[in-house]
């Protein structure tokens, strides 16, 4: 019983990490790409210039650091929980992304878009009430 509680606690804790660092990373990347700008004709020379601007953007590097934190948490939780459980559960991050886009980037989000994000959250809630593991553990190689 105690082991099961601990199992769920560590799963929820890492999913909370995923839900915070993934949206923060995406918002920082969005801010960085707003500054970098979009390619006009997608010529190789132009893409190289854009890559150079991407590499020199502080926001992009902060976004990458945040996403790396998310990735480590994601890798850890996948060692004991099903992919089909973790992936939808981590979609809580989509709601947080909407909020951060509005608060930090000042994006205008229409009621229809908020509705779509809310529906995604309902889907997450439904998935979150299924057992984290449905398969047998593989033997470590």
């Amino acid at each position: 019983m105690k082991e099961a509680a601990g199992f769920h606690f560590k799963t929820y804790l890492l999913i909370a990490f995923i839900a915070v660092f993934a949206p923060l990373g995406n918002v920082l990347l969005g801010k960085g790409m707003q500054n970098v700008g979009s390619a006009k004709n997608w010529a190789p020379g132009e893409i190289l210039q854009i890559l150079e601007r991407i590499c020199s953007s502080g926001y992009i590097w902060l976004g990458i650091a945040s996403l790396l934190t998310f990735f480590v948490a994601y890798m850890l939780v996948l060692t004991w929980a099903d992919y089909s459980y973790v992936q939808p559960s981590s979609s809580l991050a989509y709601a947080v992304t909407g909020a951060l886009s509005y608060l930090l980037l000042g994006e205008t989000i229409s009621p229809l878009r908020w509705l779509g994000i809310a529906v995604i959250c309902v889907g997450v809630f439904v998935v979150g009430h299924t057992p984290p593991r449905t398969t047998e553990r593989l033997q470590p190689s």
């Binding site: 089909s84 992936q87 939808p88 909407g98 994006e107 878009r113 889907g123 998935v127 299924t130 553990r137």
Partner: protein, 124 residues
């Protein structure tokens, strides 16, 4: 059109990459020790698995597709529509990882997809 192309590339390479990483993680086994040194050893062990590198390459392709989309669309549009990968992820997990996906999980994934559709419609 270009947002659709980049979204397709993002979903396919992102989901494929995550399936490869998951397969690699399951081969390594469950983590019990969360000390920094143990975590470093765990990451080094993960990097010795071939599936991990294939997963990383596919996720890198997804990352650059994401950056391309973010250069011409809002974050509040781009990130929610990438939730389309739930459908691809559930199918991939059932087929390639042999995970048993319950009816309730399928329902949750379907609801998420409805949400993605609404967000896409909000763009028009």
């Amino acid at each position: 059109m270009r947002e659709f192309l980049f979204l397709t590339l993002l979903v396919i390479s992102g989901t494929g990459g995550e399936l490869c990483v998951t397969h690699a993680m399951k081969k390594i086994g469950e983590v019990h020790d969360f000390h920094p040194l143990a975590l470093v050893k765990f990451i080094l062990r993960a990097l010795r698995v071939g599936w991990m590198w294939l997963g990383i390459a596919m996720m890198a392709a997804a990352f650059f597709s994401l950056l391309a989309m973010l250069s011409f669309e809002n974050v509040s549009f781009v990130v929610p529509v990438t939730a389309l990968s739930y459908a691809a992820g559930a199918v991939g997990a059932a087929v390639f990882l042999r995970e048993r996906i319950s009816a309730q999980r399928w329902m949750g994934v379907a609801i998420v997809c409805v949400g993605v559709t609404i967000v896409w419609l909000s763009h028009r």
